[in-house]
């Protein structure tokens, strides 16, 4: 640079030169990126070709069974089973979380034991265990412990595939929900409770009106993940002949031997259900996200666009 030129203050500013990068590494990167895109494109075409032209898939069979009454009944059972188990999971999990957060050593201990068992054993084992409860506990009765009982049932009458499935999925879900709810409540700033108390709120009101709505923001994303997981895991109860979606499909292909087309039918339904759940998650999150963003006036469309662009960008970067 010509130093003598720099007398005036403005002259000191060296203009920033945007020189195009022409190094070998730069070109290698560009070529690499395009090669990768090409490879993915070719693989996708191959996969599509396989799906469309394969003899084993038999798309007309898929179409035939997709809305068959037996399959639809299975879909409904899967949905109902997931919903009931999720509700049990959320309610019991919430209760367990409160027990875990309490100062009582006894309640803490009970919760720890619960989590230890239900998270430490495979769900499949738990399903089989509940189904075979009758061989372990013969009768279930309500009454005075070790004293007279008022009502009593034969466990075998009580435990159908349905009740075993609900118990297994619900109790297992509760163990996971407990940790999610607990983390959500702990994630709310302590100052919020102090401000509530200083305003004269009772602790139960402060929990209901101030802590819980804020905890929901933290609780909902992992909860919908769990709901999606549960939707899929509910297929495990096919092992106890609970006629949900997978078992309904199995019953058909054990007769017709059209295994692959029917598994595709099941997959299509599972994908539809998980997709709808994900969309629901977006709206619930938006509801509980009130007040967390500065740009409140951004429309839903604009926000989805932003979300999409962010995700897309990260995918491209990874690629």
């Amino acid at each position: 640079m010509n130093m003598s030129r720099a007398v005036d203050g403005a002259e000191l500013l060296v203009p920033y030169e945007l020189r195009p990068d022409r190094s070998a590494r730069y070109f290698a990167r560009i070529v690499g990126k395009w090669l990768l895109r090409l490879a993915i494109f070719v693989l996708a075409i191959m996969a599509l070709h396989l799906l469309i032209t394969s003899d084993t898939i038999e798309w007309h069979v898929v179409a035939q069974y997709l809305t068959a009454p037996a399959i639809l009944q299975g879909v409904i059972t899967t949905l109902v089973l997931t919903a009931i188990a999720m509700i049990i999971g959320i309610l019991l999990g919430g209760l367990l979380a409160l027990m875990r957060l309490s100062n009582s050593l006894l309640l803490n201990g009970v919760t720890s034991l619960y989590l230890w068992f239900f998270r430490g054993t495979p769900l499949l084992v738990q399903i089989l265990f509940w189904y075979n409860l009758a061989s372990f506990i013969k009768r279930i009765s309500i009454g005075i412990p070790f004293g007279p009982s008022f009502i009593s049932w034969n466990t075998n009458d009580l435990i159908s595939p349905l009740t075993a499935a609900i118990l297994a999925l619900g109790l297992n879900q509760a163990a996971y929900m407990c940790e999610i709810v607990r983390a959500g409540i702990l994630g709310v700033d302590e100052g919020q409770l102090e401000a509530s108390a200083a305003l004269g709120m009772t602790s139960s009101r402060a929990f209901r009106r101030i802590v819980l709505p804020q905890a929901m923001r933290i609780i909902i994303p992992p909860t919908s993940n769990n709901a999606i997981g549960l939707l899929k895991d509910s297929s495990l109860v096919s092992v106890i002949s609970m006629t949900e979606l997978l078992y309904a499909v199995q019953q058909v292909y054990s007769r017709t031997f059209q295994t692959i087309p029917l598994l595709i039918v099941a997959s299509i339904w599972y994908l539809m259900m998980t997709t709808v759940t994900s969309i629901g998650q977006y709206y619930i999150e938006r509801h509980y996200g009130r007040g967390t963003r500065r740009d409140q006036r951004l429309s839903a469309v604009a926000r989805i666009t932003v979300m999409f662009r962010k995700n897309l960008l990260s995918v491209v970067k990874v690629g």
Binding site: Q192, A198, L199, G200, P213, R217, G291, T292, Q296
Partner: protein, 262 residues
């Protein structure tokens, strides 16, 4: 009873021999303090001297180990059983007492999931039992008073620090407190914003609000305080008018503290 009541009438808050320890850390070592009606009492002192703890003991966010907090002749947080023994007040009763003491925190602690108006009507409706319409009218009055009449639909995240703190002050006022406790209300604010919050507090004092203010803003202490308390290591070291404390401290520790501030 007779002789005491005549001159204790205009005493709003009285602390008698308050002790508080956290584990082995003796934070408050016998604090005696009185705040008269319409008085602005400023508490100054080095960080860690127990100022926040004292304020939090007054509305029982912390439970004192011993001593009495008395607000208008009513003991806070404890009651005397029929057999004469003292027992901690049950939660809901304590919550009722706390409505009489407004508190403003250093970090605002606004409810982020509610609008400004929502923040202001939450406790008046849910706790004080006002109708929604009445609570809204009251909230709008207070927002106008703190200069935020046009921001009632904003969420806290959309406000500046100074605006947040003014909302927090309005929120505490909405409960109609007999005394306002301020714990370093401007310490989390950028210097150029501090003034707008102090202005609101100054206005409150002209309206006759009884105030207990922990602060490091010496200009506020000088201009607004009726009395100043200097605290150090859990003790009240010195009490006096702003002139006495700021200009002619009697105790060496007070002088040292003030010197370091300037």
């Amino acid at each position: 009873m007779m002789n005491g009541s005549s001159n204790s009438d205009d005493i709003v808050v009285k602390c008698v021999d308050i002790h508080k320890s956290f584990g082995s850390n003796h934070v408050l070592k016998g604090i005696d303090l009185q705040v008269k009606a319409s008085e602005v009492l400023c508490i100054i002192g080095p960080s860690g001297s127990g100022k926040s703890t004292l304020l939090r003991c007054i509305n029982y966010l912390e439970t004192p180990d011993s001593g009495d907090i008395i607000v208008h002749n009513q003991r806070i947080g404890v009651y005397t059983k029929k057999n004469g023994q003292r027992a901690p007040l049950p939660g809901p009763e304590l919550a009722k007492q706390r409505r009489r003491l407004g508190m403003v925190f250093q970090h605002f602690n606004l409810f982020p999931h509610m609008t400004v108006l929502g923040n202001l009507i939450e406790a008046p409706v849910g706790v004080r039992g006002l109708s929604k319409a009445d609570a809204r009218a009251l909230a709008r009055d207070l927002l106008a008073k703190v200069g935020l009449g046009d921001r009632e639909d904003a969420y806290p995240a959309q406000l500046s620090g100074g605006q947040k703190q003014r909302v927090a002050i309005a929120r505490a006022l909405a409960m109609g407190p007999e005394v306002m406790l301020f714990d370093e209300p401007t310490s989390a604010l950028d210097p150029e914003i501090v003034g707008e919050v102090l202005e609101v507090m100054r206005f409150l004092s002209t309206e006759g609000m009884t105030m207990l203010v922990v602060t490091h803003e010496m200009s506020f202490v000088r201009d607004v305080a009726d009395r100043v308390v200097f605290m150090d290591e859990g003790c009240v070291v010195e009490t006096g008018t702003p002139q006495e404390i700021l200009l002619a401290p009697k105790v060496a520790r007070t002088a040292q503290f003030l010197e370091r501030l300037l």
